[in-house]
Amino acid sequence: MPGVATPESLRTLPTDEIRQLLWRLSDRYAHQLLIQSARAVARGPVARLVAAGQRHSHDWTPEKAALLQEFDAAGLTSVYLDPEHGGFIDGPKNLALALVAFELAWVDAGAATCSLAGHLALAPIHERGTPEQRAFYLSRTLPAQPGEDRQTWRGAFCLTEPIPYVGVETGLLNGKLRVDSWDGAEPMLRVEKRGRFITNMGFATFVTAAVDSDDERIKGSCMVVLEETDPGVFDRGTPTRKLVHQLSSTNDPIFSLTVPASRIVGGYTVENGVIVPRFSHGEVIEAVFRRTRVTVGLMTAAKLLSAVEPVLRYQRTRFRGGESIAPGSPRYELGLQQREDAIHRLVDIWAAGEASASIGFATARLFDELDPIERRKQEIFAERGIAGARAQMRAMAKISDEAVAHLRDPQAKPADELVNYALLDSVANVLCPAVKLWNTGQGATMMREAVSLMGGYGITEDCPGFLGYKWMDSQLEATYEGPEAVQRRQLSITMTNDVFLAQFHFWTREMRAIAARRPGTGACTIASAMQLWSWTLAHLQRTADANGAKLYQGNRQGVTFPLADALCWLLAARCQILDVLELEARAAERPDLADVSAGYVAFLSDLCHVQAARAAGEAGRICTELVYGYRRHPSWDDACAAGCCQSEAADALEGLIPGFGASAVTYMDVIEADGAHPDKAGPCVRFPALQTFQRLRAKLDGCLTGARLAKDRAADALTKVMIPEAPDYPA
């Protein structure tokens, strides 16, 4: 259009420099090295295996086994290790592991799982093991260094058992532990355990297994380390016939082994002749899963973002090759991108991918921050003699009050370490299940969209970017480490924590402040949706349904689960907005990005706006259903008739107010003397106590202003963005 400047937008797909700023990696060189290393493995050996059809077999083949050496050579095996054990990253590894998973899952999530499962096996030892256990197992998993002649140990994590319908259920165990002999100082234990869906089992050297006591001389449950050379049966079992993630090794093993009691993870004490493990299996698993669930969520995020380039390429080249399609013509150059639907749908996929990556990496960073503080909390409790779960819970309850009080000045860092812990822990307890639930659940839905955009390829193995495989894989990720119901259940408890809610209210104000500064980001929409969600939660917590039953309660999953779903949408959109603001602020300090940063910020802001509108729409829908849905719908019965106008009364009022009788039927439900009523869908509902909700909902709807224009701009950018001439891995 003459006289109207074209708004700046992205010129190329986001580069590493942009991603580093978005995900706060620009000063973390070890992580940047790791990304490049993992990427080289993913887009090289892993991609070649997938292209060669290795996913067609459930068995652990020599070709798949060769990946382990690739992981070793690229340093991926040693990511989890501290420098004292041969690793190269000091401090917490949550973000590092998340990045490895992200890069590998960009090509194949089975390979990512194969890489991560070894770390999962080590996690119980790392998080809860004794110093001796840590030193022994961590150093052996380090690949042999030049000049060394030793085998690299590899681990598997064995929790799941062949109990019917039980997935990752931490409360049910069939695996048993008995005292085999106790002649000397060290008791020997007999472990009987049958595993199900155990990753890495085809080649594991050792297994960390959850077992329950079957002996009065052992108290409770624990995790034990089993080694393949232990006396007894170490049967790796048959490969699981999985439809997905076939580049990982998954078997149903059988163990019947005798091991020394020193293999109990975290150690034990002997009290009155009873072996008391220091940690129950539940305590160990809690420490492990709350971290590793985040990486699974990011595996699905990688799939969505990896779909953008193949779909763009397909859309543009869709019609090339036809005799009547001349180079330079719009049909040749734009292909399917001439039509709005194709690019609008791709914008939705991209926006969802950005949001899921943002919340995933934000959570990984949060756990990196939390890890040392959590260790410090344990030390403080030990110093104060506060032992046992209940005593610690009581102590934390007091600290929670201080944490809420501290939020009056949320910008100030708490002076008290435990207050700081309470603040971070309450958020981590929500974000971890939220990432796992939303990224994988909504991610699977959006991957279906991505595959559907590859119409010409159909659902075939030729689908570029392995999108068909990724779609199926994402469904499995929704069940890994606790299916969706487990995450929703956890969220329904953690999201009502006072410390979290206090921070959530602060975040709402923060979004409003951002909206004032950067109106085009969708922050206003998210703030309104957060306000609606908060009001709905408070309303449901104090309200009963039409039958008088309490609405927000543990067993009422029809209320708690949808509200948890709604929260996830909002948290993801919030993280996405914060990332773009970070990019905007940091890119301004970078001369090398001076020419292009405005374009990326503008485009990614539009994606935020699109995603914010979608998130607010979902949250609004859910809240509205919950607020209105548990009220009894009026009917023409006696209970309702009391609220209707009787025709005799209307006629009587006609004398006082001329025209009342005729107009009453328009504005009111009028019942005739014989009980007849107007021919309409039903009596009108009234909401005397819900004006605030109606106002908030109306405000939220209005906040969607401009969202579709943002989508139009983003879609237009997709028709112009430069993509590589060829994919960088076979497909």
Binding site: Y29, A30, G75, V596, P730, A731
Partner: protein, 266 residues
């Protein structure tokens, strides 16, 4: 005897990118140049791997990498290269595209090499690409060598063998897939590498971390250099012949060779 090997290698856009020359306010360049992913110039990369290989075989050897490139892009490239072999970086902050004057770049590189602390000229082997992927003029390394006073220069090198007396036997590529065999008494010498015979080392973050400790300060110390352009450009345009890249998967080496032979016969 140990060698002091200085490898000259710039960066170039990732070959998978669509490259389009454009005339910008600062002269000719590539469209979206600042945002194109970059890699170490493949010829220079071969030289670097050969240098590391040679250094590993001879005690007291050391490798420097002198790179004339935009330092922000160079930092990104180093996230990969620093993981492959051990070296010390000497960064010169300048344009990486192929429109700068080779003699100006050579002068800057020679000055940087001469300024390397602890470099023993009597042990100096100047390595680099036979040509570069950005312009393929094949002139820069030669001129840098001349400015450093090194007159023993070899190009299209595919292999060097160190003799018992410290001399080199050098395989230089000639036409028809054959090599010319030369002998050189020893350092100093210039080697413009072809592809050599080494595979690309796998990334190793542990090695990368070791290199990064010196690499980031080197990037921060990088001096800006802006040699004069190679000339004036009246305009730049897309080449008339478009590159048609065909992506084929699961093709056996025999099938690929057969197809190449048929293409040559056309």
């Amino acid at each position: 005897m140990g060698y002091h090997i200085v490898v000259c290698a710039g960066i170039v856009p990732d070959p998978l990118q669509s490259l389009e020359p454009v005339m910008g306010p600062g002269g000719p360049g590539l469209k979206n140049e600042a945002m194109l992913p970059a890699v170490l110039d493949p010829w220079g990369a071969h030289a670097l791997y050969e240098a590391a290989h040679l250094a590993r075989q001879h005690a007291d050897s050391k490798v420097w990498l002198v790179s004339f490139a935009p330092k922000a892009k160079l930092q990104q490239v180093m996230m990969t290269i620093a993981q492959k072999v051990a070296f010390e970086l000497v960064a010169i902050d300048g344009a990486a595209h192929g429109f700068t004057d080779a003699s100006g770049v050579a002068a800057t590189i020679a000055e940087a090499v001469a300024g390397i602390a602890g470099l023993d000229r009597s042990k100096l082997l100047l390595f680099g690409g036979w040509e570069s992927a950005s312009r393929a003029a094949g002139a820069t390394l030669s001129m840098a060598g001349e400015r450093l006073g090194i007159t023993d220069q070899f190009f299209g090198v595919d292999g060097i063998t160190v003799g018992a007396d410290g001399s080199f036997e050098i395989l230089e590529r000639v036409e028809g897939g054959q090599h010319q065999v030369s002998n050189c008494g020893g350092p100093p010498a210039v080697f413009g590498w072809a592809t050599g015979s080494l595979h690309e080392p796998a990334n190793n973050p542990q090695l990368g971390m070791t290199n990064m400790r010196a690499l980031i300060p080197a990037l921060q110390r990088a001096k800006a250099a802006s040699p004069a352009p190679a000339g004036t450009f009246a305009g730049v345009a897309v080449p008339s012949q478009r590159r048609e890249t065909r992506i084929v998967k699961d093709q056996s080496p025999d099938a690929i060779a057969k197809e190449i032979v048929e293409w040559i016969r056309q």
